[in-house]
């Protein structure tokens, strides 16, 4: 059998053609093939995503039946504690309003939000980006912050297609968001680690950062408002070059169960 058999010739021709396509193609949202394919298929993706979310919820419910009694008792206790907590919070609400204005945190009601369904995720890559069902036609732009209902940051818009967008989660290794520790005001860069981990890097040695502190966005980079919750600070350690501190962050959002997200269009 010669090397240039019909099969091998087909293979070589296909590979050369594909190399040519890869070389000429571009990754951005301007790629019309990608945009059109996603537009065609996004209604199916949305339907099945919502359906599978329901199925997962059902199985989760079945698995938790045994724990219902215990959970019920726990909830009753929690309810009592929360009633006391509400009374205390009413007092601090007024104080919070003053603090919020002092720290230039924008009240969440002022965000111009666009609700969107999560329709899929980059399952073949690192898994740290998701697709949503709103795009350019709804005024979505690259770099906008993406939050969940309680003002918790989950990521930012990375690519915008006509009717869909790709969101890079804060757990992505290449994602970099300006962050701040609420308690001490220490500033740093929040980036993803492998898997779904997140960390705060580039914190000055002069700053005091403690485990359990709250990490928020500092608003120093465009597109992301100040004051969005990111998570709780975990272990704090020295960076490899000993010039900065870095801290692991336990994100407040559960990235694997995102169903609906909100895009901050303006703030």
């Amino acid at each position: 059998m010669t090397f240039f058999s019909r099969k091998n010739t087909k293979f070589i021709f296909t590979v050369v053609l594909l190399l040519f396509i890869v070389f000429l193609s571009f990754r951005g949202a301007d790629n019309p093939v990608k945009g059109t394919t996603l537009w065609l298929i996004s209604p199916f993706m949305k339907t099945f995503r919502i359906f599978s979310g329901g199925v997962q919820g059902f199985f989760h419910f079945l698995g938790s039946i045994g724990e219902l009694k215990e959970d019920n008792e726990k909830l009753l206790n929690e309810n009592q504690n929360l009633s006391a907590e509400i009374a205390r919070l009413k007092d601090t609400a007024e104080e919070n309003k003053v603090l919020r204005s002092e720290m230039s945190l924008i009240p969440k009601a002022k965000y111009d939000l666009e609700a969107s369904f999560v329709i899929g995720q980059d399952a073949l890559g690192s898994g740290s980006s998701i697709f949503i069902d709103k795009g350019e036609n709804k005024g979505i732009r690259e770099g906008m912050a993406v939050i969940v209902s309680n003002g918790i940051l989950v990521g930012k818009i990375n690519q915008v297609f006509p009717d869909t967008s790709k969101v890079v989660l804060i757990s992505d290794r290449e994602s970099a968001i300006a962050g701040e520790v609420l308690e001490s005001g220490a500033k740093g860069i929040i980036r993803g680690t492998y898997g779904l981990g997140t960390m705060m890097d580039m914190i000055s040695q002069a700053e005091v950062v403690k485990e359990g502190d709250t990490a928020i966005t500092s608003g120093l980079r465009g597109g992301i408002p100040r004051g969005l919750l990111i998570g709780k600070i975990g272990q704090v350690e020295q960076s490899e070059d000993k010039l900065f501190q870095q801290a692991t962050i336990f994100p407040s959002a559960n990235f694997s169960s995102l169903k609906v997200v909100f895009i901050v269009k303006s703030f």
């Binding site: 594909l18 396509i21 199916f44 099945f48 899929g120 073949l124 980006s129 992505d172 290794r173």
Partner: protein
Amino acid sequence: MKNFNLFLLILVLFIFQFSILGVFFQSGRIPNLFVALVVSLAIIFGFEKSLPWVVFAGFLSDAGSTWLFGSGILALVIILWLIDKVKAIAEFRSKRYLFAFLLFLTTGVSSVAFDISIELILKAEKLFSLGVSSASLNLSFGTDYTLKTAYTALSVIAVYFFVRKIPKRSNIILARK
């Protein structure tokens, strides 16, 4: 219409891959169903008959992924060709357990080969275009990656089962052993 079943199967795999599996599997552990499809197609149909379908599957995988368009198709076509070169696996169809083991092994190795190919393309892209964001699969051969490879290898059972049913329904002639 004779190939409609295969067309539909690839679309279903796409929906599963990008919309459904992410709900049930932890990020980073999601099996690569397209690799399982390519392994099944290569064994059942051979290189030439599978090529257009692999290109279609790769096209869809590229549509849902971060990397450059064409990278997924290229990686899948190379895997298809390599598996077709190792035809020996098809000889063991009658020896059920050995065949299943070889199928798992081939799929697992193909899954790793797919990721390495994509990573190489991304690295090449980074060389030519500076400032490209997210230009990495963040490959680290830890627990997550091992589980992802294992799940991919296991997923070939279901994919192979469905692909095997197609020739009977659509008069496609199987590749010669």
